[in-house]
């Protein structure tokens, strides 16, 4: 049986098309993926992403503990700052990718993918040899993403907090609509700016309705997970379960920038990642633009022009902004280089495509 966020009935009342996503009954679209996508790129849109999981890690050794299970260097962030990171497994793969918020000197909030909540919790808990507590608080938090170029100014006008100077991957904690301790962070999965709001589950429906009411005059509308996927793909962002998983290396996935091999603490597969890095690129997650009208889809094989199997598509869509098919996929060296012509096999025909530089869409 699928799980529901506190906004389930609200989505149904808004006549959203509901689908099973990561075990949750979620809105894929309200009116149209293309329209919702354009709203976020040009103005702003509101997403319910409460299916995401949250863990708290607290205690004198919270930092040491988290450094030992994640690849990025968490010692570099201050209170009020967040960091994108990943949890590696022992076989060189990825347990999950996540965002870590530093709430206090020795208190962190981990935000993980819905499909991985139980797996992540068990994995992290099993490695807690530190003076720190790990608590799964997923059911206590709802998460709304208010995304788009006008989102930050809009929420700034509604909140007592001064959010005007809020830098990317920073957050403030304060009052919103009479609720206290709301986390407002300049993060998101769209590339168009905006904020994410961490709200107590029992207040989620009220905040959602209040935002849509206040936003009516500003053209604010709800946006489903369909547009969330097209927005993230235009930016070349990875989706766990599609582009990265338990078998993919963060080095191959282009996540070297969050895999800090020079940090002093050890973490699972660190030596393996160092070896991979020294050996040079074997394969790489690439951005692919198709010259045909057909769309590349997860699982399609990728061939070189001389018919060698060189990789596989992991994500694909029609870019609503560019109106051309785009995708991500792992491609063997040396075919991973920008400008390389490749062929994508749909099963019935081979589509001409080219390796390009991500992001597909430049957003101001």
């Amino acid at each position: 049986m699928t799980k529901k966020t506190p906004l389930y009935q609200t989505h149904v009342d808004l006549q959203a098309k509901m689908v099973d996503f990561a075990g949750y009954d979620m809105p894929v679209q309200y009116t149209s993926i293309k329209e919702e996508h354009a709203a976020v790129r040009n103005n702003m849109g509101l997403f319910d992403v409460s299916h995401m999981g949250e863990f708290r890690v607290e205690g004198p050794e919270a930092l040491r503990f988290l450094q030992s299970v994640t690849t990025n260097d968490l010692s570099t962030i201050v209170i009020g700052q967040a960091q994108y990171s990943c949890i590696p497994n022992d076989a060189g793969g990825i347990v999950d990718d996540l965002i870590i918020y530093r709430l206090a000197e020795a208190a962190y909030l981990l935000v993980v993918n819905a499909s991985n909540i139980e797996k992540d919790y068990n994995w992290i808990a099993a490695r807690n040899q530190y003076d720190a507590t790990l608590t799964n608080v997923s059911d206590q938090y709802g998460l709304l993403a208010l995304q788009g170029p006008n989102a930050l100014a809009f929420i700034d006008g509604l909140s007592d907090l001064d959010l005007s100077g809020l830098a990317y991957y920073h957050f403030r904690v304060g009052d919103l609509f009479g609720l206290s301790d709301i986390i407002i962070s300049a993060t998101g999965y769209t590339g168009s700016g905006g904020v994410e709001l961490y709200i107590p589950s029992d207040s989620l429906v009220g905040v959602w309705n209040h935002l849509l009411e206040e936003g009516k005059a500003h053209g604010l509308s709800p946006v489903g997970l369909g547009a969330r996927d097209t927005l993230r793909l235009e930016m070349g962002y990875c989706l766990y379960g599609n582009d990265i998983d338990d078998t993919t290396s963060p080095i191959d996935a282009g996540l070297s920038w969050i895999t800090k091999l020079s940090k002093t603490e050890n973490f699972p597969s660190k030596d393996l990642f160092i070896t991979q890095k020294e050996a040079g690129v074997k394969r790489r997650l690439c951005a692919i633009q198709v010259e045909d009208r057909r769309v590349p889809r997860h699982g399609y094989q990728i061939f070189s022009e001389d018919s060698q199997l060189i990789g596989q598509v992991t994500s694909g869509t029609l870019s609503p902004t560019l109106e051309v098919p785009i995708g991500l996929g792992y491609i063997d060296a040396p075919y991973h280089k920008k400008g390389t012509a490749v062929l994508i096999d749909t099963g019935r025909k081979k589509l001409k495509a080219q390796v390009v530089k991500a992001p597909f869409v430049k957003v101001n």
């Binding site: 098309k17 894929v28 993926i33 009208r293 057909r294 769309v295 889809r297 749909t346």
Partner: protein
Amino acid sequence: MNLPEDLKYTKEHEWIKLHDDNTATVGITDFAQSELGELVYVEIDTIGESIAIDEVFGTVEAVKTTSDLFMPLSGKILEFNPKLDENEEDNPGLINEDPYGDGWIVKIEISDASQVEALLSAADYGALIG
């Protein structure tokens, strides 16, 4: 769901309008277009070909997914709706707007009329999609 009584249906969510001259018009159902979401491209690269029942005769692309089109009856592809064809009007959204009308996909010539009996009625198809 809109299920016109005068059409036949398949479990692959296609509708068939039978004509007197042994031809038929084929499209996808209202249920199918709703499940697929906004259609962005229709590819029919089999015009003039004779194709057996259940074989693929084309593909539709939606933003989120790709779906092959299967022959509801053995026959020959006579015509591809020029309103959908990328070389003509290139308006695949017509399938979403009017799946049983302007959004028709191909016209076929039926090669084995006995296969018609196995097609679903509107009531049978309605029961299938619940």
